[in-house]
């Protein structure tokens, strides 16, 4: 396989993967393209290499910046904007975790807490108890994973790869 071919495949693979992580194909592909590019890329280069429209490129670049997975880079003397991708995989992971938490876990936990405010506790006692247990169990689990996410976000990658990994994997 040639290097360029490998890069091409990487872009495609990353695009497919992204789909499973709440990132749409194009967004993931742009991200992948930025990852394998040494130089910052302009919107036009991205449009060209991925064969997508300007609007699409613009929208997804903004989303990437929003997630903290890419940033704008102005080149001296150039009017056009350029973009670079975050290449530190630890940071990429942390940012995806943070973003997903914001959009999924936090709202879910808020909803769950709401559901425990039931006012016909008296009748259907058994049924009520079971429901509350279910909701509390889910919330407890969400809290645990949430705390792990927290820890990852704050942790140093070395702590994660080193200490924790040794602890867990042995």
């Amino acid at each position: 396989m040639k290097l360029d071919e490998a890069k091409q495949q990487f872009v495609e693979a990353w695009g497919t993967l992204g789909t499973n992580w709440g990132i749409n194909r194009t967004m993931a592909q742009i991200h992948a393209l930025l990852l394998v590019s040494d130089e910052p890329l302009s919107t036009d280069e991205i449009m060209d290499k991925l064969d997508i429209s300007r609007g699409n490129a613009n929208m997804n670049l903004r989303a990437l910046i929003d997630w903290g997975l890419a940033e704008r880079k102005v080149k001296l003397g150039e009017r056009m904007e350029f973009f670079v991708g975050e290449k530190d995989i630890w940071k990429v992971a942390v940012r995806i975790i943070r973003e997903r938490r914001k959009r999924e876990i936090d709202p879910m936990r808020a909803t769950l807490r709401n559901l425990t405010l039931i006012d016909d506790k008296d009748d259907k006692k058994e049924e009520y108890q079971k429901f509350i247990k279910l909701v509390k169990d889910i919330d407890a689990f969400a809290e645990s994973t949430d705390k792990i996410a927290d820890k990852m976000i704050l942790a140093d990658r070395n702590w994660f790869y080193g200490t924790l990994m040794k602890l867990m994997i042995k």
Copy 2:
């Protein structure tokens, strides 16, 4: 809020959440409905409560069974099949993790390993090195999370909630 209303909201919330986890809305809603139902439900009851077609109910029930999130339950003397949901949230989580790993992480790692088989190492030395580092970094990260997933799948929930949590959160 009334209990039935709370259950209703739970089904809706779980449906929304599922969407972010590669589970489609109906599949998640059926799962939620089974979670809040004390008695096993028949396909017709599910169709009725969620207002969905027979084909849809059937397809998603099979998917749930496939994931290990629900199981068939035959009632003595009844011809019709009934379904129950897995109510142990730990098991639910473990099964979702296992399923996602199978569909996402494993294929991705296979692809990544492939990408390192590049045969024009000599020219573009710098560029080649950078690409290989990127791919290896991603694979190393995937391996770490994979091992955590492994550990979770094998671990006792008490180990997870107790020992690990104390270690991590403190």
